[in-house]
């Protein structure tokens, strides 16, 4: 009878038992300072970076304007002078538009600057622009034409440039009298949203998964107690790190294969450039992140910390890489940081190959930076690697 009662009592929901479970978990977390630190740091960093990067609309897009308009002065009657300087007005309006970053130069000479990514568009206002406007106002069937050579691989940027131009045209009379002669760079590249999105997704997924898998794999050695055992064998730290890197590189190549395969075969993402260059880029990029992970693994004491490190790197990279917002549109103090993010170069490489048809030559600077990051990670990994217990 009594027993029965006790049994019933112990099977009833106990607040004190529940409380102890909750309390124990908090006690454990309190001991794990690094996890606690990351729990505070990670949301702070991610919120700040995303907040800053998403706060503004697309702005500061570098464009080049070649204003050849000479202006037009007419004397329709004695002592009446009409002076039109439409080109300068448009130029001035663009200069004051925060969406674009205004530069001047020759249209014909700078078309190549769109091809190589320096400017997103070059714009030419022809010499007879004001004159044409005048003639149209006089009832002549003429249209003032503005020539644009534009990079259409980023729809949001293209829309902003077009928007800025439209607003600039409002500043002169007769808004309907104009025609944009828009020529798309990269052989008239017209891409779907998917085409445009896939390259950055490839970069991001590679960043995140390669870091995650590498960190977990390496940290496992520490936990299993085998690391100490390895310290006592002839195996050197360099051999161990290179061994990790080789195995993880092979795994990452598999990963890259799956990512590229799905992107291209399942979603039919455009690959304008050479597939071999794309594969080379994916492997180099994966290797870089393997080496970054090898370095970072020196600071992770357990698998949990390793698992936290991957998003801690990958998420800010996402915000800073130009994937969500062009780097030029980020607040100025954030921009230099963005240029340190491997994914920034990764995106440029993947977009360059897939959308713009760039090859090794055009992407040499990006490849070089990625290579330097890989090399530095290896050096840092070797400088911080432990070859015995550090106590």
């Amino acid at each position: 009878m009594n027993n029965n009662k006790q049994q019933r009592r112990s099977s009833r929901f106990s607040f004190s038992r529940t409380y102890m479970v909750a309390r124990r978990i908090l006690q454990q977390i309190r001991r794990d300072r690094r996890t606690l630190g990351m729990m505070l740091m990670m949301p702070t960093i991610i919120m700040l970076i995303f907040g800053f990067s998403l706060s503004g609309e697309v702005k500061n897009i570098p464009i080049l304007v070649d204003n050849q308009d000479t202006g037009y002065t007419a004397h329709p009657a004695p002592n009446v002078e009409i002076s039109i300087t439409a080109g300068s007005k448009i130029a001035a309006a663009l200069q004051n538009d925060s969406r674009v970053k205004y530069n001047t130069g020759s249209f014909d000479k700078n078309r190549a600057s769109v091809d190589n990514g320096t400017y997103f568009a070059v714009i030419k206002i022809p010499a007879n622009f004001s004159e044409t406007i005048f003639q149209r106002q006089r009832g002549q069937n003429k249209t003032a034409e503005i020539q644009i050579y534009i990079d259409a691989t980023k729809p949001a940027i293209r829309a902003s440039i077009q928007g800025a131009l439209q607003s600039a045209l409002q500043s002169i009379q007769g808004g309907s009298a104009f025609k944009f002669n828009e020529e798309l760079a990269f052989g008239g590249a017209q891409y779907t949203g998917l085409d445009v999105g896939i390259p950055s997704v490839i970069g991001f997924v590679l960043t995140f998964l390669v870091l995650l898998i590498s960190l977990i794999t390496i940290t496992r050695e520490t936990i299993s107690g085998t690391l100490q055992r390895l310290y006592a064998t002839p195996l050197t730290a360099l051999e161990r790190l290179v061994g990790y890197a080789v195995a993880l590189l092979l795994l990452s190549m598999m990963l890259a294969g799956v990512i590229l395969g799905i992107g291209i075969l399942v979603f039919g993402a455009a690959v304008k450039g050479n597939l071999a260059v794309l594969i080379f880029a994916a492997v180099l990029y994966a290797l870089t992140h393997v080496l970054i992970a090898v370095f970072l693994s020196n600071f992770a004491k357990n698998e949990l910390q390793a698992v936290q490190m991957a998003p801690l790197i990958a998420l800010p990279s996402l915000a800073l890489s130009g994937m969500l917002v062009p780097v030029n549109s980020l607040p100025e103090f954030v921009q230099p940081i963005a240029r340190l993010v491997p994914l920034y170069y990764g995106n440029r490489v993947f977009e360059g190959i897939m959308l713009k048809g760039y090859g090794l030559l055009e992407l040499a600077p990006e490849f070089l930076v990625i290579g330097v990051i890989a090399f530095l990670s290896l050096i840092l990994a070797l400088a911080t690697v432990k070859d015995r217990i550090n106590a």
Partner: protein
């Protein structure tokens, strides 16, 4: 390597202070262990045994003191020394997701063994350690005693001259323990020096010499017979209790 070295292990005034918590783990410890000896380092949990082993195997640097292993200087020559030394750490410390063979091969190759040599030696060890039937089993599926034997196989695969067994015989059944000791004796006959640690006192009875360690200090040393005689005790456990003056030693 100098074959002429008289001692397998020589430690002079070893001191180890752990940076974290500023803990004195080894306190002016002196140790000389001859070649072909079975030496048991006995002490309570936390007395500094493992710290000591870690220093002697070169994976932990002493704060001060000199260590010579097989006539070479530790930690300076530790990678050279490691070729002649085997270590079976306190935890099983083998790869749980690999098979017995895969583990043994991995360590064998780290010691630079040739394939033929490695396969021959592995065959021999797996037979002796009664692991041959489970050679293709994943370690995670083995019993505790078997894992311990896998760990020992990994420590012996390269025919070391000196081997450290940290708590190798603790927590295993009496039959297996008796087997281990028999095996240790046969290894000794082949000229191997064995250094083992234990917090189980009667283990030590079977060693050639015993070092009693407490609070990082070597408080007594000698053959089991000598120690029992000196302290008028019947067992090593009694010796230990007498030396501890009845205090609970749980450093």
């Amino acid at each position: 390597m100098s074959q002429a070295a008289e001692w397998a292990v020589e430690a002079l005034d070893l001191v180890k202070v752990y940076k974290e918590g500023n803990i004195l783990a080894v306190d002016r410890l002196n140790l000389k262990i001859g070649r072909g000896e079975i030496y048991a380092l006995i002490g309570a949990n936390g007395s500094g045994k493992t710290t000591c082993i870690n220093i002697l195997t070169g994976i932990l640097a002493p704060t001060t003191g000199v260590v010579k292993v097989l006539g070479m200087e530790m930690p300076r020559d530790r990678k050279t020394i490691s070729k002649y030394v085997g270590v079976a750490p306190q935890e099983y410390s083998v790869y749980h997701d690999l098979t017995v063979e895969q583990n043994v091969r991995f360590f064998g190759r780290l010691y630079g063994m040739s394939n033929n040599e490695l396969e021959r030696r592995m065959e021999e060890l797996l037979q002796i350690l009664r692991l041959d039937e489970r050679r293709r089993s994943v370690v995670a599926n083995l019993s505790g005693g078997m894992r311990r034997r896998v760990s020992i196989a990994c420590a012996l695969i390269h025919n070391p001259q000196l081997v450290f067994f940290d708590e190798a015989t603790v927590g295993i059944d009496p039959v297996l323990r008796a087997f281990f000791w028999e095996y240790f004796r046969s290894l000794k006959k082949q000229g191997l020096t064995i250094i083992l640690t234990s917090h189980v006192m009667d283990e030590a009875e079977k060693a050639d010499r015993i070092g009693l360690i407490r609070a990082g200090k070597l408080i007594e040393e000698g053959t089991p017979k000598q120690l029992k005689h000196k302290h008028g005790a019947d067992t090593i456990e009694e010796v230990f209790i007498k030396l501890s003056e009845g205090k609970i030693v749980d450093e």
